[in-house]
């Protein structure tokens, strides 16, 4: 069963999107509080706590041709960035380092609804060295300092549910997953991982909230796995949580290959 999205989201409606963004809550070295300048750089708040979008804006997340459940397609960053600008004017999908991209997967489909799973990698440029009288331990900028300070979320995981009959957006969210290290902060001379409990934009249609009986669906875990593979070749390795790995190694009489890291392997937080 394939779905063509060309005719959906055609109504002249608007959608109100809210931002929820909590401050940095945990950091081993408290880099974000090291000086008044650090505090100013990383004391971030939404550009627009609430913003109205024309329904056309959400076409950025739809596939260019008909798709079946499980299919993955690439998103045009020009359509994605306007949503990220609601967080901060420094939003960009051009990363300083790491794996760039924005992809979507059709997770579930019924005759009335479609649910699309999203994964977007983006940075926020929060300061330019030229604008700061920045120093480190009494020294002015060195040649190896970077030009931009960045707030780098691990990823934005999203969900868009489209009402195919009403041609409306039933719900939408883009959120930073609440893993215990989920943002990398880069000053001009230093970098560190931190935890932000909530960073999310979301919208929902209060008149459209009943249960959905899907005709075809894959689990969210499978959809997210398909998206991860678009960013990382290493995701083809069958990774397991430590406790599962130990049990399986014993049962299959295989050695355990373990990697210990400061920051997560499967996102951009390190």
């Amino acid at each position: 069963m394939r779905q063509n999205f060309n005719d959906v989201l055609q109504r002249s409606a608007s959608v109100q999107v809210e931002v929820h963004w909590e401050p940095i809550a945990d950091s081993t070295f408290s880099l974000h509080k090291e000086s008044p300048e650090h505090i100013e750089l990383f004391n971030l708040s939404p550009s627009y706590p609430i913003k109205e979008y024309g329904i056309d804006a959400f076409k950025a997340f739809l596939p260019p041709s008909s798709v079946a459940v499980g299919d993955v397609w690439e998103l045009d960053s020009d359509g994605v960035v306007p949503f990220l600008l609601q967080f901060h004017p420094g939003a960009t999908t051009a990363l300083k380092q790491g794996e760039e991209g924005a992809f979507a997967c059709l997770r579930a489909l019924s005759s009335e609804y479609a649910e699309i799973t999203l994964r977007i990698h983006a940075d926020f440029i929060v300061g330019h060295l030229a604008d700061w009288d920045w120093e480190w331990q009494g020294e002015k900028a060195a040649e190896d300092w970077i030009e931009e300070a960045r707030f780098i979320p691990s990823q934005f995981a999203g969900k868009l549910v489209v009402n195919l009959k009403e041609r409306t957006v039933r719900s939408f969210s883009l959120a930073l997953p609440p893993r215990n290290s989920n943002v990398d902060i880069n000053t001009f001379d230093c970098a560190h991982m931190v935890f932000v409990p909530r960073m999310e934009i979301r919208a929902s249609d209060a008149d459209d909230c009943g249960e959905i009986a899907w005709n075809s669906a894959i689990t969210e875990e499978i959809a997210r796995g398909a998206l991860e593979l678009k960013f990382y070749k290493f995701a083809e390795i069958e990774w397991r949580p430590l406790e599962e790995a130990v049990e399986l190694a014993k049962a299959a009489n295989r050695p355990i290959h373990a990697i210990i890291v400061w920051g997560a392997l499967d996102d951009e937080s390190c």
Binding site: T28, E99, N180, S181, Y232, K233, F234, E236, I237, E238, W239, R240, P241, L242, E243, E244, A245, V246, E247, L248, A249, K250, A252, R254, P255, I256, H257, A258, I259, I260, V261, W262, G263, A264, L265, D266
Partner: protein, 170 residues
């Protein structure tokens, strides 16, 4: 690491066919050691923490937490990293499959080689002359190049200092 050896097809195939793979955040080890995921996972987590030396470390272990190989990522030879990674995996498998664990003698396989370990306490001299204590490193094993991996452990007291590397002829 993830864009290097772990994205190399032969490494991926070897890991999926012959190993059970896991990655663990350093900050999650204390909780695992505490036993939240069971006794055996706790034992393995203890070994991971015990051997951790760098921002990314690779270990190969048995399910009984016997360490077969330990490779700090930074000490993996810089060129042909994927091939070296395959070598590390292959040697680990040979030990595992050959049941040669007893021959490891508590020294896990590593593609790096420990040249020297020095314990030295530097004292403030109380004058303007700092305590310069040179430590010679024999680099003859690097006749054809390579990467010298130096770890410096410091205590928690207040101090200032620097580490400098010079050619012996300087």
């Amino acid at each position: 690491m993830r864009a290097g050896p772990l994205s190399y097809l032969e490494v991926i195939e070897s890991l999926n066919e012959k190993f059970v793979n896991t990655w663990v955040l350093l900050r999650e080890l204390p909780e695992l050691i505490g036993g939240v995921k069971g006794e055996v996972a706790s034992l393995v987590a203890k070994k991971l923490q015990h051997h951790y030396t760098d921002s990314v470390d690779i270990l190969v272990l048995t399910s009984e937490a016997e360490v077969l190989a330990h490779q700090p990522d930074r000490a993996l030879p810089y060129r042909n990293r994927a091939q070296h990674y395959l070598t590390l995996l292959q040697r680990s498998l040979e030990v595992f499959e050959g049941e040669l664990l007893s021959k490891l003698e508590a020294k896990p396989i590593s593609l790096g080689r420990k040249l020297k370990e020095v314990l030295h306490i530097f004292h403030a001299s109380g004058t303007d002359i700092p305590d310069y204590t040179p430590i010679e490193i024999d680099l003859t094993p690097f006749e054809h190049g390579g990467i010298l991996h130096i770890e410096i452990q410091v205590g928690g007291g207040e101090a200032t200092g620097s580490f400098e590397l010079y050619n012996a002829d300087t």
